[in-house]
C-alpha cells in the first residue's frame, strides 16, 4: 500500500482554499496584522499559535467577515472575499467568548444556524441530536446557557458552529475550558469530524501540545506577523528562530561564536568551557554570533564521565522537577548558565542516584541541537 502523505502545501498543483495576500489590518494607528501572506489548503487542520494580543482573533474575524483588511486581499476558493457579508460566507466561527444566545436553550442555540437555511423540522432535530451526542450535552439540551458550566458552554459553542458543517470552520480557543481528559477526547473527535466531513479547520490555541496533536501545520505568530509556518514536527525539531524554539516547548539556548568546520560548526560559548559542536543547516560565517538551541530531552545526564565524547559539560544539579513520567534536572555549568536535562523515569527510583548538589556530566550528540541566528 502506498499511502500518500498529506502535504498539499508542497504540491504546486494544489489550489489553496484560503489565501491571505499581503493583508494588513490597522486599528487606528495600531497595526494588528502586518503585511501577512499565507495559504491554507482544503482539509487542513491549521493551528495559529502565538502570545496574547498577537492578532490571532483578528485573523479569524477577517475570515469570518467581521473585520475588513486595511489593505491586501483574502480569497476563499480563489474568490476575493472583499465585502462579502458574514452571513453569505460558507464559514462558521466559534467565538472565543462563546457568544451563546442567553435567551435560547442549548437545543435552540445549536439549531439556530440550521433553521436559517432549512425548514425541515425533522432534519434539523436529527442534526441537533447528533451534535448533542457528539458533545455529550444530551442531558442539558433544555437548559439555558447560564444554567450550565463553563466547559459545557464551550461545548455548546462548538456544537453550534459545527452544526452547519461549513466548508471552513474557525475555532478560537475551542477547548481551553475543558479538563485534560475531555480535551483530549474532543481533540480526537475534532480530527475525526475533519476526516469524515473534509472540513477545513483553522484553530487558535494557547496550548502547544494541542496544536501538536491536531494540526497538519502550525503558524507561530508574533505581533501581527508569521514567524514560521510548518508541520508540528518541523516547528519542534527545526525552528527557524530563537523566538519559535522558545515559544514551542522547553529549550536550552546557548549563545556563542561560530567556527565552521566541514559540515560541523564549533561554538565557543564561554571562557574556560569546552566548545560545543553542532550541525549547520545553513552556511555559517566564521566568527558569527549564533544561538545553539537544544531540547532538554536530548541532553543526557550521568554521574560518571562518559569517555571520548564531544559536547561534554560538567556541572552541579541545583534543582530537580519530578513530573511523574519524566524528571527535569537543572544543572549549573562552569560559567553559571543553567542547562536543563530530561530523563525518562523508566524504572522506579531509576534516577534517584542523582540528587541535589551532585556533580554530573551532560552530553548530547552533534546533531541533537539546531543553530539559529542571533
Amino acid at each position: 500500500m502506498n499511502q500518500k502523505v498529506f502535504a498539499p502545501w508542497d504540491d504546486p498543483n494544489q489550489k489553496p482554499l484560503i489565501q491571505f495576500q499581503n493583508v494588513t489590518k490597522k486599528f487606528g494607528t495600531f497595526t494588528a496584522i502586518d503585511d501577512l501572506s499565507l495559504d491554507i489548503y482544503e482539509r487542513e487542520f491549521f493551528a495559529l499559535l502565538g502570545p496574547s494580543g498577537c492578532g490571532k482573533t483578528t485573523m479569524m474575524r477577517m475570515l469570518a467577515g467581521f473585520e475588513t483588511p486595511t489593505s491586501g486581499t483574502i480569497r476563499l476558493s480563489g474568490q476575493d472575499l472583499g465585502q462579502t457579508a458574514p452571513n453569505k460566507r460558507a464559514v462558521n466561527m466559534m467565538f472565543q467568548s462563546y457568544a451563546l444566545f442567553p435567551h435560547l436553550s442549548v437545543w435552540e442555540n445549536i439549531a439556530f444556524g440550521l433553521k436559517r437555511e432549512s425548514t425541515d423540522k425533522d432534519a434539523i432535530a436529527a442534526r441537533v441530536e447528533e451534535m448533542l451526542r457528539l458533545t455529550r450535552l444530551g442531558k442539558f439540551a433544555k437548559r439555558k446557557p447560564h444554567q450550565i458550566s463553563g466547559g459545557q458552554r464551550q461545548r455548546v459553542a462548538l456544537a453550534r458552529s459545527l452544526a452547519k458543517s461549513p466548508k471552513l470552520l474557525l475555532l478560537d480557543e475551542p477547548l481551553g475550558a475543558l479538563d485534560k481528559k475531555l480535551r483530549e477526547e474532543t481533540q480526537f473527535e475534532l480530527m475525526d469530524i475533519q476526516e469524515k466531513t473534509g472540513t477545513t479547520f483553522v484553530i487558535v490555541t494557547h496550548d502547544q501540545e494541542e496544536a501538536m496533536t491536531v494540526a497538519s501545520r502550525v503558524a507561530v505568530m508574533d505581533e501581527g506577523r508569521l514567524v514560521q509556518v510548518a508541520t508540528p514536527a518541523d516547528i519542534y525539531e527545526a525552528p527557524n528562530s530563537v523566538y519559535v524554539a522558545d515559544f514551542i516547548g522547553d529549550v536550552n539556548i546557548i549563545e556563542g561564536n561560530a567556527t565552521p568546520n566541514g559540515d560541523r560548526v564549533r561554538i565557543d560559548w564561554a571562557e574556560g568551557q569546552p566548545e560545543i559542536w553542532g550541525t549547520a543547516q545553513k552556511p555559517v560565517a566564521s566568527g558569527e554570533r549564533i544561538s545553539f538551541a537544544i531540547r532538554p530531552e536530548k541532553v543526557t545526564i550521568s554521574k560518571e564521565k562518559p569517555e571520548d565524547r564531544r559536547n561534554l559539560l560538567e556541572g552541579e544539579v541545583i534543582d530537580i522537577a519530578y513530573l511523574g513520567n519524566i524528571s527535569t534536572f537543572h544543572v549549573k555549568v562552569g560559567n553559571g548558565q543553567i542547562i536543563k536535562a530530561q530523563s525518562a523515569n523508566t524504572r522506579r527510583l531509576a534516577n534517584r542516584d542523582i540528587t541535589w548538589e551532585d556533580r554530573v556530566w551532560l552530553t548530547f550528540t552533534e546533531t541533537a541541537g539546531v543553530l539559529l541566528e542571533g
Binding site: G65, P86, N87, S97, F112, Q154, R160
Partner: protein, 273 residues
C-alpha cells in the same frame, strides 16, 4: 440603635408628607359622600359611579387611552431604532451631535415643544385632533424610550449579533431573533414610560389639540377652573392608580433585566476564566 433616631424619623415623615399628603387628601376626598369638597360627610363610592355616567369624561378617557397607546407604540419603535443606530454605528462624523439632538427635547420646556409643534401643524395645514396629539406625544416620548433602550444596548455583547450573522442571519433577522428578545425588558419599560408620560401630559396636548379631541388632563384642568368637584377627585384617583402601576411595572422590568444582564456577564467571565 444606630439606624433609628428621632431626627431620621422626623425628616423621613416630613419628606414623605410633603411628597404624598396632597395626593392622599385627594384620594380620601374622592370617597367623600358630600358634594362639598372640603367637608367630610362619610364614606361613599358614589362619585365613581357618577363618573361612569358622565359621557364627557368617558369620551375624554377614550381619547386619552387611544393617544397614549398609539403614541407610545410609535415612540417605542422610533426610540429603539434611534438607540440602536446611535449605540451600534460606532464612531461617525457628528455622532455626538445626533445623540445630543435626540436627548435635547428631554430638557426642552414643554411650552416650547408644544408651541413649535403647533406652529408646524398650522404650517403644513394639518387638522388638529387625536392624530396631532399622537404625533406630538411620539416626539417627546421617543427621547425617553431611546434613553432607556440605549442604556441597555451599551452593555449588550456585540458578539451575539455577530454570531447570529455568522450562522446565516441577515442583519435584520439578527436584530429580530437575538438582539430584540434580549433587550425586550428595556423596550417594554420604555413603552410603559412613554404610555404614562402621554397619559398625564397637559401642556403639549393643549397646544396640539383641536376642538374634536379633549384628553383627560385637559378635561380635568378646564373642569377645575369652574371649581373642584368630587367627581374630579375620583377621576384623578383612578389616574394616579394607573400611572403608579405603570411606573412600578416599568421599574420592576428594568431591574429584572439588570439582574439578568449581571447574570449573563457573570456567565461570560466564567467562560473566559
Amino acid at each position: 440603635m444606630r439606624r433609628f433616631s428621632w431626627f431620621n424619623a422626623t425628616s423621613l415623615t416630613l419628606g414623605f408628607a410633603f411628597l404624598y399628603l396632597p395626593m392622599v387628601i385627594l384620594v380620601i376626598y374622592s370617597f367623600n359622600a358630600s358634594k362639598l369638597v372640603t367637608v367630610w360627610a362619610g364614606f361613599s363610592t358614589k362619585w365613581y359611579g357618577e363618573l361612569l355616567q358622565n359621557e364627557d369624561f368617558l369620551d375624554a378617557a377614550w381619547v386619552t387611552i387611544r393617544v397614549a397607546f398609539f403614541s407610545s407604540v410609535l415612540a417605542t419603535v422610533l426610540g429603539t431604532m434611534a438607540a440602536t443606530v446611535l449605540v451600534r454605528a460606532g464612531r461617525f462624523m457628528g455622532r455626538g451631535l445626533f445623540s445630543g439632538m435626540i436627548y435635547a427635547p428631554l430638557v426642552m420646556p414643554e411650552v416650547i415643544t408644544g408651541l413649535s409643534l403647533l406652529l408646524l401643524f398650522i404650517g403644513i395645514g394639518l387638522d388638529r385632533g387625536v392624530f396631532t396629539i399622537v404625533l406630538a406625544h411620539t416626539t417627546f416620548a421617543m427621547c425617553y424610550v431611546s434613553v432607556v433602550v440605549s442604556s441597555r444596548l451599551v452593555s449588550f455583547d456585540k458578539s451575539l449579533e455577530e454570531a447570529a450573522l455568522d450562522l446565516g442571519c441577515t442583519p435584520f433577522q439578527a436584530f429580530r431573533l437575538v438582539t430584540l428578545p434580549i433587550i425586550a425588558p428595556a423596550v417594554i419599560s420604555g413603552w410603559l414610560l412613554a404610555f404614562t408620560l402621554s397619559l398625564d401630559d397637559l401642556v403639549i396636548a393643549s397646544f396640539t389639540t383641536g376642538p374634536s379631541a379633549t384628553t383627560l388632563p385637559i378635561k380635568i384642568f378646564s373642569a377645575v377652573r369652574l371649581g373642584v368637584s368630587p367627581e374630579i377627585n375620583a377621576l384623578s384617583t383612578i389616574m394616579i392608580s394607573v400611572v403608579t402601576v405603570g411606573v412600578i411595572t416599568a421599574s420592576i422590568l428594568s431591574k429584572r433585566s439588570a439582574v439578568a444582564q449581571q447574570r449573563d456577564e457573570q456567565a461570560a467571565t466564567q467562560a473566559t476564566g
